[in-house]
């Protein structure tokens, strides 16, 4: 059983799978944010994308400022705990960016419905909220079972989200796309399964034997993956558990950068459009900065999968 080799470059993966007008899901909850992929989308000048991302943060602001995005599907639009997303706020406040608002679990349930090919997914949120009034995709269903009090029970539902392509960042994968994540695993598996195509960006492409020594660690199996991109430090300024820490200073700085449209444009020209690829961006950040983000060791205890004697 030869495993198909799906490794490719970021440039080729984005060129092939992210097309103008596509719906692109970029997931990763604080941890493992696919920043490098976002930058490459900006470099290639994609237009008119619908971006789906639970926590629309720095990379989303950058994609919007790069004029790549016409529509945003999200449940949190803020620069983590560090402030605001300048460009996103300006455009939403000016009515220049379409915004579909959900709660976190609403987004999760949209991915769950998408991954499971369900027409809708029920959840106990939205009751009494103004969000359904501004988002007609959030609807109600009557349960065919009686409520605990014997009466009729209603529940809100959300529709499936099926991105044209989902891009996630992970610690490691083998060449065929078996992807292992530890620390926060987020909604990555569901976002991948919900998508028509999936790109996995990893810190390392590892030998098959590494993956196969711990199959429970594989969060996304190869059959759901179309491209594997090795891109070390691809999540910066986000962190990758066991690889590098969060660049808190960058997040704080971003509130300043993005507050000023001209400074923001300059930043994109210098750091994204002015770098050939993510390796150049990483080098430009400099080893001193990376040294500050280095992490020490805390190894998991191995478990025995056993072997028939």
């Amino acid at each position: 059983m030869p495993q198909p080799d799906k490794t490719t470059s970021m440039r080729e993966a984005i060129a092939e799978f992210v097309t103008d007008g596509a719906t692109v899901s970029l997931e990763g909850f604080t941890h493992l944010i696919p920043t490098a992929a976002g930058h490459e989308i900006i470099r290639q000048g994609r237009r008119d994308l619908t971006i789906a991302r639970m926590t629309a943060d720095v990379v989303t602001d950058q994609l919007i400022a790069g004029d790549c995005v016409s529509r945003l599907i999200s449940s949190f639009v803020g620069n983590s705990t560090a402030g605001s997303l300048g460009e996103l706020r300006r455009r939403v406040e000016a009515g220049a960016l379409a915004f579909e608002e959900y709660s976190h679990y609403g987004m999760i349930c949209r991915y769950l419905a998408g991954a499971q090919r369900l027409p809708f997914y029920p959840l106990r949120s939205y009751a009494g909220s103004d969000v359904p009034a501004v988002n007609p995709s959030i609807r109600k269903v009557t349960s065919p079972y009686p409520a605990p009090d014997g009466g009729e029970e209603q529940i809100y539902v959300v529709p499936p989200l099926n991105p044209d392509v989902t891009i996630v960042q992970a610690q490691r994968a083998d060449r065929s796309g078996n992807t292992q994540i530890w620390g926060l695993t987020g909604i990555q598996a569901e976002a991948v399964y919900a998508a028509r195509k999936a790109i996995v960006v990893v810190e390392e492409v590892v030998a098959d034997e590494v993956i196969r020594s711990d199959p429970n660690r594989t969060v996304i199996p190869a059959h759901a993956v179309d491209a594997v991109v090795a891109c070390p430090r691809g999540a910066h300024p986000a962190f990758v558990q066991g690889y590098y820490d969060r660049d808190g200073a960058f997040y704080r700085e971003w509130s300043q950068i993005s507050a000023d449209p001209q400074r923001l444009r300059g930043w994109l020209d210098e750091w994204v459009r002015g770098t050939a690829d993510h390796a150049a961006y990483v080098a430009k950040l400099g080893e001193e900065r990376w040294a500050e983000l280095a992490v020490g060791e805390a190894w998991s205890e191995p478990v025995n999968y056993g072997r028939r004697l």
Binding site: S176, N178, R212, P215, T218, P221, A222, G306, R307
Partner: protein
């Protein structure tokens, strides 16, 4: 060595897998067929097991779909919610293999009871994941060792796993084609999808159309281009015997 029924069925089933990427299969004949296909017509085809194992590399031949040897060295073990929700219902399976106690002319299957469900003559195991395999695979292959009128029946005692025709009659649009191939010790029945009955499309050497029709509990249609099945080739037999199941656990 003469060709056993298992060798015959495994070889014939393997040829039908050309073009498939993901196959949902149980242990035994289906895995023999897929393993042979990996060596012949579908080198990249992947077996997904009901237990959630993907990309298994077992050091020994597994005895069940959840055998410990399937897990060790595998590429992924999915949680059950992911296997049934994202892989099966998510329409990631091209070909599912199923067996059954009874099959009807549209490929609907019964694995629940013989007799009345409320007072069964024989209580069978039930669906397991068969209903999900039928509802969500691109198409379904059924391998039945014994081709007789009790199993190939005009009317099921109970429909556990319905094909797309019954789903449509129930007002629900099915994903896949349902059963497209039934491979038996007499030949191959086939249908292409919704609305079609199973037709006899091929017989094993020495088997007559009348024999198959007599062994089938409904008035079996015969394809206009009925062919004779080529017996397993020397290469197929050698691979089955030397590479796939050298201990002859399932080739018995």
């Amino acid at each position: 060595m003469s060709i056993t029924s298992s060798e015959l069925l495994a070889a014939v089933a393997s040829r039908e897998l050309a073009g498939a990427n993901t196959v949902f299969a149980g242990i035994g004949l289906p895995t023999l067929a897929v393993s042979l296909a990996q060596l012949t017509v579908a080198p990249e085809v992947e077996i997904v097991y009901e237990s959630g194992v993907c990309g298994a590399h077992p050091a020994q031949l597994p005895e069940t779909i959840a055998d410990a040897v399937l897990i060790t060295d595998s590429e992924a073990v999915l949680p059950m919610t992911a296997l049934f929700g994202y892989v099966l219902q998510g329409a990631r399976i091209d070909v599912g293999f199923l067996g059954a106690a009874q099959i009807d002319r549209f490929g609907n299957l019964n694995s629940s009871v013989i007799g009345d469900w409320h007072a069964p003559k024989v209580r069978l195991p039930g669906s397991g994941g068969a209903m999900e395999v039928m509802a969500n695979s691109g198409e379904v292959f059924v391998v039945m060792r014994r081709h007789d009128p009790r199993s190939f029946t005009a009317e099921l005692d109970f429909c556990t796993s319905p094909g797309p025709d019954r789903a449509l009659a129930d007002g629900i649009r099915p994903r896949g084609k349902g059963v497209t191939r039934v491979i038996t010790d007499l030949g191959i029945l086939a249908r292409d999808g919704v609305g079609e009955e199973l037709r006899l499309v091929a017989t094993h050497p020495g088997v007559t159309v009348d024999e198959v029709r007599a062994a089938t509990g409904w008035d079996l249609r015969v394809d206009s281009e009925l062919t004779e099945i080529a017996p397993p080739t020397g290469d197929e037999l050698r691979m089955l015997r030397e590479d796939v199941d050298p201990a002859r656990v399932y080739l018995r």
